[in-house]
Symmetry: C2
Subunit: 133 residues, 2 copies
Amino acid sequence: MKYSKATNYALHTMLFLAVATPEKPIGVQLLAEKQNVSPTYLSKILTKLVKAGMIESASGASGGYRLKRNWETISFLDIIHAIEGTTSLFDCSLDHGPECLIQQVVLEAEEKMEQQLRSKTMYELAKSMKNVQ
Amino acid sequence: MKYSKATNYALHTMLFLAVATPEKPIGVQLLAEKQNVSPTYLSKILTKLVKAGMIESASGASGGYRLKRNWETISFLDIIHAIEGTTSLFDCSLDHGPECLIQQVVLEAEEKMEQQLRSKTMYELAKSMKNVQ
DNA sequence: GCGTGATTACTCGGATACAAGATGTCCGAGTTTGAGCGG
DNA sequence: CCGCTCAAACTCGGACATCTTGTATCCGAGTAATCACGC
């Protein structure tokens, strides 16, 4: 079990945008170059973030991607869910009674992880990076 | 991202063995039947648990699988790691400096989940089920 | 009754087939910027 | 100087191609219990 590379790219792109925070959008070519991905593939990933309402895209010359308003509240979990989906990581496919104890244990553990991911934002991360520089 | 069905089967098999705790081994056919899996596939999964030292197999007629001694200390995390492997669920494939802040955040969250899974054992679960019955 | 061999029931391991999802590419279509040109 | 047109730069979205991984099956080999048979 692993997070997909797409999630990796999405997180890094969000952090990059958070650190830059320009008025003008940033082209997908530049973003892709920073991470050694093909621009078309990255754009496919970023489309998901657009649909999730985290960033917005501008087409045409000097177009690209830009953070949306109130991006400061976006957590790691939001980004991960936008890419990976929100399905829980364990389904007891067996029908052995109403509640599966195993499932309960695993989901409880998953909830701990999500709590942690929900409490971390790109905004914090970007701020701490700027302070160091 | 999801745990594989194999993990599902492994957890359920361990719980089943823990509740039964017979001296005689239990055949893979019976175990497979309970979960609607093919016996050969299940045996392939259980081989991993054998290699991890959690159960042992007996070949020949009336053979099967049986818990090993000191199985009471086996946690959920042990079982999951035996099937899924122990690789962490996030690798920053990018080389942008020594430590990746994103990676740190995700791994920290993963650690929370593992703590929880480490604290839960099949022994507890089996005991609570027996009390109910 | 007792040992010995054959049969049966079972696991083990490798090879293979199949399916699904992740990853990545290609291309046509639409959109905005900016430059060039004519009035 | 102004407005129009056109080319260039860019994103968007769908349709593929490829690769990896999970899931599952098949079969030959080995092993232990049990049964049958002969002494």
